[in-house]
Symmetry: C2
Subunit: 186 residues, 2 copies
DNA sequence: TCTCTATTTGAGCATACACTCTAATTTGAG
DNA sequence: CTCAAATTAGAGTGTATGCTCAAATAGAGA
């Protein structure tokens, strides 16, 4: 994997994998389908990746990384910032958002590696949301902030889940509605 | 399928299918696994079901029917009633709840039959929630009630989705939190 | 140009899948 | 008790999967 050709092929394979997981799910993403979509033969795939799982894990990492943008800004963002960033992720990176949501379910059962990553990511997200909430409501107890943050994160996932079924669905309206309800309920 | 033995075998197969979909997902549920779990050989399975898909669809129907209990009471329930009923479904019928949530994602891509059922069910649920909300808040516009109802239904799904990954997760606390936020935000 | 690798090719392997078939066994009404 | 129908047994079918491998081709430094 030192020549340019190999790197380009690698990108095409990852892109094909991403599109396929988004549209067909983890189990529906076969080597044959990946290779056809990428214009490559199985031998080339296995020259660049050790296994199908390795390619899938790369895409999983892409998806998880894409959910939480601007990590340097962490510690300064408001709850509204975080929700708006999530809306942007879902609307502007549709494929990765679909991958991301499928992980929480399809991936959890079979693949411990994916399950571990997803769980750790979820917990990190809740912490970030809770910190923002605590900053905006200093009187709120940490436990209360964490509980509220977790509810909000999961509710946002539920909305995204619906978009997987109905691609025309407007995530932004419902996500903002959740946010204002959460802030109103304090 | 007229003898008692056949009916009992059918039940065992459906139960095995239910448990397997809950723990392994739709694609992980193979004929071999179903037969082993049910203590049956493939010949018996195909004596009672035309296909694997038929058995799965039976379980899908079970799950969808179990989400909305007490259909006669429809038109009188409060939003709190509906949320409490959902909490009961998730906590008391764990396997079916896991099946139910997996449908929204795993099933949607590959199987148009399951996708259609799931979408219709979702819409029906939103209508029921919206009607309850309108009854409690007569001044609210129908469009507003429907939007709020849909947000709540999806958020509840998000919470249940998390329970699929973490079985010890306390759904009730977060579901009630969503409800009170939704009512507070009016 | 020559040479050594990286890359691609594409046929082929073992396995697992959904499903079928025939023969044996069990059931229960008459 | 009889016997046809219902049910089971279990080997076997074709196909798709993830993956391998030897041979052919393309790329880059000498």
């Amino acid at each position: 994997m030192r020549y340019k050709a190999g790197l380009e092929t690698r990108d095409r394979i990852l892109q094909a994998t991403r599109v396929l997981i988004a549209s067909e799910g983890l189990d529906g993403t076969t080597i044959k389908a990946i290779c056809e979509q990428a214009g490559v033969l199985p031998g080339s795939f296995y020259n660049l990746f050790d296994s199908k799982e390795q390619a899938i894990l790369s895409v999983v990492r892409q998806a998880i990384d894409a959910v939480d943008p601007d990590p340097e800004h962490q510690g300064k963002d408001t709850l509204a910032d975080l929700v708006e960033a999530y809306i942007r992720f879902v609307t502007e990176q549709g494929d990765l958002a679909r991958v991301y949501i499928r992980l929480a379910i399809s991936g959890s059962a079979n693949n411990p590696e994916i399950k571990g990553r997803t769980m750790r990511h979820h917990e990190g997200r809740v912490v970030r949301f809770a910190a923002a909430l605590s900053r905006e409501h200093p009187m709120m107890s940490d436990a209360e902030a964490e509980r509220r943050a977790e509810t909000l994160v999961m509710a946002l996932n539920g909305i995204t889940m619906h978009k997987v079924m109905d691609p025309n669905f407007d995530v932004a309206v419902h996500a903002r509605s959740l946010l204002s309800d959460a802030l109103a309920g304090v």
